[in-house]
Symmetry: C2
Subunit: 376 residues, 2 copies
């Protein structure tokens, strides 16, 4: 029995609406996951996330492994209890942060050695270790460790990285099988494991990676190595090429992307799942999303503005606070500023996903997309 | 008709329970007001304040005058709308911050000139100006501008300051009368004006100040110039001396104090109102109040601690989060840490006040006090 069911498709695009079953409830796709790096989506309470319509959050294995560490989270039987969140959690493998944030040591077949960005301590992340940590975190969806390359990368480098990613993916699948044996299945359900397609910006390599992973078979497939500095048109080209060659009966996840426009286009291309720090990070920088584009809440023109960020928006922030107040909080560096801004941006993203899903279910995705670009 | 009614008194102490009527509802005394310096009690939403049992907040006239300024708050017809808070607000006169935070210029009979701590701009705060700003803020209770002296101060200095405070108090009362004329009474109700007793640590001067202010007559009386660095026993001695010589049919307010122990002792001495940054500031420093004393959430012994800050506490934080999680958030400098800590501390203070009031109403204040010191 599959954990993913497609409930509607768009006639004119590859957009699709689905339902993903997890041990912590159903997730309606397409879905956007706010990033809860350290067991908290920065500045928000779980109740606020739910109030914004959040179905699932992403946790960062690298960060949680370093702080507070698995020994702490094990006492809570996982991240859900620890952070007071009872909806689904997806965790990444830790690979991306090792390659982008830590001081990377050697990458060998065994795994990736790195030094913590916090205290410089040395660690080795292997595929087995990554799965073990993610099982300890109690995630509903766990990701295979992959070899993330920078942009631009040579064909040779991209090829080696994808081959290593494939070998690691096999080991992750085996590690999960063995890890399930150690789980007390009366309290924990085994997570779903997703493979990650690599291959840089080379279509034939992406194809090979997709085929390799499909052969191993996973519960879902992610496209990694996008939004790593490449021009937008290349990102869309690779996504457009790769999404349809992934198994259609499984969820397809574009990692680490993107702007509202990116999400609309990638949903049109057939993607089901997304995560990104843009809504939360931008909020903390005063960049607020509206249907007409972003506004910067610091702008002097908002000093006396009694209107909400977006008139008509039904988020908690827009229902109760003015631009002038939010500007005042932000200029005064008040803690409440970051929260109120984040609530609006997360709500904006969640509504966007909800509207896309509704449009797909009504087979009106084109109309939706047209209205979206008209700022309606 | 009076706006303050005493509903119960303690037989064995001077503790009393009252009800203060304001245009934004009733306040049950003794009451503690969290400090909302810049139109926000740092890190909390108004809903969270209410969830903690907050009846009234304090706003700082000095801070709000500088940021966002009266021109902004006027557009919102006052601070209540601006900050989305519909319960009573008390504002201070601005004097204390001018004397402690700004670069103070000359203090003359006219007023106090100062330079902003933000941009160095020059301002003159007169009694009339302070009342005008507080009317603009739409406060329910406004305070007379007073001349706040440091500890220790010479008798001569304390005497001059109290005499100036008396002259300013008269002018504040006149300014309020004139200010009321400018109010649209269909939308705004005139605030209550409180006088502030000064006189340093000299009882005869405190007596003279109390008599002077009582003669002018105010809706309430505050004791200023305490908790300014003097030894605790002197603070209690002056409060003990001054509280009973203030009119018993009016609320008595000790400004800028204190710890939970201070509040218990000052209530026993007959004080009705308090404000202090201790619960909020300490929370942001990881210092959490419990019935057995304060704990520092950073402490390594909490690393694996699945218990709440205070077992049995019914605040949102204790109901949903462990010491280990709060320690993790705090060590990681996560924004949620400050909020969850603040919720607990404010709730602790509000419950303390509520328990004191209940004890007074049942004429069991002594029993309450005994249990309090036993950490029950």
């Amino acid at each position: 029995m599959s954990n993913f069911k497609i409930v509607a498709t768009s006639d004119t695009t590859r957009a699709r609406a689905g339902v993903l079953q997890t041990a912590h409830g159903e997730v309606e796709t397409p879905v956007f996951m706010p990033v809860g790096t350290l067991g908290t989506v920065k500045s928000l309470s779980p109740e606020e996330l739910i109030g914004c319509g959040t179905q699932m959050v992403l946790g960062n294995t690298y960060h949680l492994y370093l702080r507070p560490g698995c020994d702490v989270i094990r006492r809570f039987a996982g991240l859900h209890n620890f952070m007071h969140w009872d909806r689904p959690i997806l965790t990444d493998s830790g690979g991306f942060q090792i390659f982008s944030l830590a001081k990377l040591g050697k990458v060998t077949d065994e795994g990736a050695s790195f030094q913590s960005h916090i205290d410089g301590s040395s660690h080795l992340l292997t595929p087995e270790k990554s799965v073990e940590i993610q099982i300890c975190l109690g995630s509903n969806i766990i990701m295979c460790l992959d070899d993330c390359i920078k942009y631009p990368a040579s064909r040779e480098h991209a090829k080696e990285a994808l081959e290593l990613t494939t070998r690691w993916a096999k080991r992750c699948k085996n590690a999960l099988k063995e890890g399930i044996g150690s789980l007390d299945l009366t309290v924990s359900k085994p997570p779903f494991l997703f493979g990650i397609v690599q291959g840089g910006m080379f279509k034939d390599l992406r194809k090979r990676s997709a085929e390799n992973l499909s052969e191993i078979t996973f519960s879902g497939y992610a496209i990694g190595g996008l939004s790593v500095g490449e021009p937008k048109e290349i990102m869309f080209e690779i996504a457009d090429f790769t999404l349809p060659i992934l198994p259609d009966n499984k969820p397809k996840y574009i990692m680490g992307t993107g702007t509202p426009e990116d999400l609309v286009e990638l949903v049109a291309l057939g993607a089901d799942m997304f995560d990104c720090v843009i809504p939360t990070r931008n909020a903390r920088n005063g960049q607020m999303f509206t249907k007409k584009g972003t506004i910067n809440i610091c702008n002097a023109r908002f000093k006396y503005d009694i209107k909400p960020i977006e008139p008509g928006c039904t988020c908690y922030t827009c229902q109760n606070y003015s631009r002038a107040y939010l500007r005042h909080l932000y200029m005064s560096k008040e803690l409440l500023a970051y929260r109120l801004n984040t609530i609006h941006n997360i709500y904006f993203y969640m509504k966007l996903m909800e509207h896309m899903r509704t449009a797909i279910c009504r087979n009106k995705f084109d109309e939706f997309r047209k209205a979206f670009y008209e700022g309606k």
